[in-house]
Amino acid sequence: MTWDMLPALLPLLALFVGSVTVLFLPARRALPFGAWCGLLVIGLIWWPGISSEVPAPLVSSGGFAKVCTTLWALIGAATCLLANRCCLNRRLERREFAALILFAVFGMAILSASTSLVSLFLGLEAMTLAFYVLVAFNRENPTGAEAGLKYLLPGFLASALLSFGIALVYAATGSFDLPEAVLLSAAVAPMSSVALLGWALILSAAAFKASLAPFHLWTPDVYQGAPSPVAGLLASGSKGAVIAALLGSMPLALLDPMRPLLAGLAALSMIIGTFAALPQTNIKRMLAYSSVVHMGYLVLALLADQQTGIQAGMFYVITYGAATVAAFGLVASMSDSGGEPENYAALDGLARRSPWRAGLFTCVLLSLAGFPPLAGFMGKFVLFGAALESGYLWLVILALLSSLVSCYYYLRPIIRMFNVASKEGGGAPVNGGERLVFALCAAVILIAGTYPAPFFRLVANMLP
């Protein structure tokens, strides 16, 4: 490790240093600092003066890693901005909150940039450790602690599975490096079944993080119990980072025996997620099941040819991330000291009380449902196209069916927002930070849906 690797590591270091520094700031500055820190990281990544030509060990600094880190930093910054209201409402400790968010982003950045199973493990654990605390952050609330427990124990089990998987892969191939370890797995004939066993275990752990069925059971409870901004970060950032790691550095689909596993996970997620979301009446739980479905779609990107898969998958992560952050952000922005408006009933007449929120929420839900001309449609379109190209017709048909059925649960809240006459007075006004985040998300949703060319150029940069 030498000094000329520093530019490549600078964004990661900035995140880490930021997460420590924020603890020493005044509480009211902590969350804005977190947001600025995210922007700083983005600046460090793209500042032309800093050339990261000498690669660092364990993490890459290529285009893929850059875009991913940018994404997570943006989402992290948005989470900081959105968290302000809920921290104030419930008197949560803002410094620690900001520090944990930055640390989680740090973990995600490592995870998606990892070039070795070691850094993968490290990133995943760093991220998850931060989330264990974040999920249970609202500990005054009994659901907060319960959510913490329900994330912690499966998380532990997943860590164990992951590390055992890594150990088996290492035992079989003698390498931690990615993607060599994958490629070697097919080559080491006598040990390849051990390696495959290892990959399957790693996949289960990843499926837990990405909440693919049947590893999804924790998701609704944790989303419900966690503060909404955290749930947003969990849904968009943490899942996105896991998918990005699978897409970028772990081309499991190259191992033929792994393909049915991926396909099975995708199919189960789509089916179970879609149906289980139907009877929901709690917004956050509905979004949780919806995220299960979306992760099922994203698995299609893993199955596709790697080049198109990365592009389609990351484009989808962007569109899904924008919509999810906005959705949870909206829930957070409507919270008051009594808690968050979780049930559909709380949405009744929102269009009267707060038309902009209702409008944005409509856009977000329609985008999640995949209606053109919103980003979600374009995302699904490229994703399904990629899967079709690699011959997964049956999965695409299943995905189309699931999109069809899912319209029902996305439209139900919309109808309630506009349909029922207002019951209470107007909600609290949207503050500046939230407005910024919402505007950004809305812009992404609309532009990526109508004129996605810039986004495609962006994800095209990510190809190795």
């Binding site: 079709l388 319209c407 060319a453």
Partner: protein, 490 residues
């Protein structure tokens, strides 16, 4: 084409309603009226501008998404022009009839968004753009039903959404497969309709893809076994939405069939003509039969609409110039007549508070103008010569008889059934001893102003349809030439 100097009228036409929709929300619902008037103005100037060199009256083309070679290309020929006119007329009527009933700007905003989608469907020359517009036209109307509909509005809205969306997802799948196939064959990944049309699709696959597209479009029309969404959606929807569903969205289904399904899979078409004709005939007979036994006025008109749409499908299946021209013309005719009937039903309901046949009667004694217009449009709907529906029907029947006589013979039964159910409506609503209260008012000036242009169009298309037949002549000829060249027709 050289869009630098000229105003890109088609793009303006397409995007203006969106601006209008924003205007409704941001300023006032009056923006909707201005928008639609402006749109009508643009649409009326369209034919004068273009040259008659190619079959396109206008064509506009922009880069859109390079990654899949999707282009923002819009083309206007006689057929699309007719459909654009129909859309704008009915949109104006829809806004007009809702004006005093719904005060919320959101309603008009949604109508305008849908309008934009419909225009896009009629103009798009790119598969992706077409699909985009196809979805955009549907969802706002679904929301309108769900938010402003009758008592069972939510179920009705979801039924409409899920039925038609199931179809359109099949269409998306077909488009994707076609796109990939074309890309693999030529190395040029493109969604442009002209490009994709040249793809050599293996016959087996072509059959499947055609079935996908056919289902997508026929659900929207709908023909009879695919009409599950229709009765409830039509019944529960606000009148503006009902008339747009029957007057415009149904047309988009047939339009898609003519513009996409046929040209894309010309060689497959002969395998499906019989099925299409049978679907058309089943719609005619079954729709007519069901219309006869309905007790709700709106449902009666809804089934009548299905029956009439069956003729249009039959005309397409007949596959000769006469029948096709008849079908295309009939799209306009049916749009006007059915919309007018729905408007009249709304007027009746507004006055008497009921749509049940048993509660009505003797309208002539109380409101002769209303009764007279119901009679007039009913006569149009039952195919009285000299009124517009007859024009299309006779051409379709002549054409159908020329290709398969028994199709036309069964179709003729539908003509008889039309008389049965329309006269039943007139009998129960217009004639008889008045059952409604003394005080109901006849049509006021605004309502007459809404219906008079439609009545005028009914007469115009009935008595002098020639200009419009010429308008669709070239598109039909081009398509037939294409079909013949690709082995779609002997």
């Amino acid at each position: 084409m050289n869009g630098l100097l000229q105003i890109p009228a088609l793009s303006v036409l397409l995007l203006l309603p969106l601006v209008g929709a924003l205007g409704c929300l941001a300023w006032d619902r009056r923006a909707a009226i201005f928008t639609i008037l402006l749109e009508v103005g643009i649409a009326l100037t369209l034919p004068s501008e273009g040259g008659a060199v190619s079959s396109w009256i206008r064509y506009e083309d922009w880069q859109w998404i390079e990654r899949f070679g999707a282009r923002f290309s819009l083309g206007l020929d006689g057929f699309s022009l007719l459909m654009v006119w129909l859309t704008l007329v009915l949109m104006a009527v829809a806004i007009g009839i809702s004006w005093f009933r719904y005060q919320q700007a959101g309603f008009y905003s949604l109508l305008l968004i849908s309008c934009s989608g419909v225009l896009g469907v009629f103009l798009a020359q790119d598969l992706l753009l077409f699909y985009l517009c196809w979805e955009i036209m549907l969802l706002p109307l679904v929301l309108c039903i769900a938010l402003w509909g009758g008592t069972k509005r939510i179920q009705a809205a979801f039924k409409l959404l899920l039925f038609t969306l199931a179809g359109s997802l099949l269409m998306l799948l077909a488009f994707l497969i076609l796109f990939l196939l074309h890309g693999r064959q030529t190395g040029d990944y493109s969604f442009a309709l002209q490009a994709v049309m040249s793809t050599a699709v293996p016959p087996d696959l072509a059959g499947w893809l055609f079935a996908c597209l056919g289902l997508a479009f026929l659900v929207k029309v709908p023909v009879v076994p695919l009409h599950g969404w229709l009765p409830d959606a039509y019944e529960e929807a606000p009148t503006a939405v009902t008339l747009l569903l029957s007057g415009v969205l149904a047309k988009a289904g047939v339009f898609g069939l003519v513009r996409l399904a046929l040209p894309l899979f010309p060689a497959t078409w002969p395998d499906y003509t019989s099925l299409m004709a049978v679907l058309g005939l089943v719609s005619i007979v079954y729709g007519g039969w069901m219309a006869y036994v309905q007790t709700d006025l709106k449902r009666l008109v809804a089934y009548a609409s299905v029956a009439h749409l069956g003729f249009i499908v039959l005309g397409l299946a007949a596959g000769n110039a006469m029948a096709m021209q008849g079908s295309l013309l009939q799209l306009f005719n049916h749009g006007i007549t059915t919309a007018a009937l729905f408007v009249l039903v709304a007027f009746v309901e507004r006055r008497t508070g009921s749509r049940k046949l048993g509660d009505l009667g003797g309208l002539w004694a109380r409101a002769p103008h209303l009764g007279g217009l119901i009679l007039f449009f009913s006569l149009a709907a039952l195919g009285l010569p000299g009124l517009n529906i007859f024009t299309g029907e006779i051409l379709i029947l002549l054409g159908a008889f020329a290709s398969r006589p028994w199709w036309a013979v069964v179709g003729m039964v539908g003509v008889l059934l039309a008389a049965c159910y329309m006269l039943r409506l007139v009998q129960e609503v217009v004639w008889g001893e008045p059952r409604c209260s003394e005080t109901i008012a006849d049509l006021h000036r605004g309502e007459v102003a809404l219906l008079a242009p439609m009545a005028g169009l009914v007469l115009w298309f009935g008595l002098y349809p020639l200009p419009f037949l010429h308008l669709v002549h070239n598109p039909v000829e081009n398509m037939l030439v294409h079909l013949v060249m690709k082995g779609g027709l002997p």
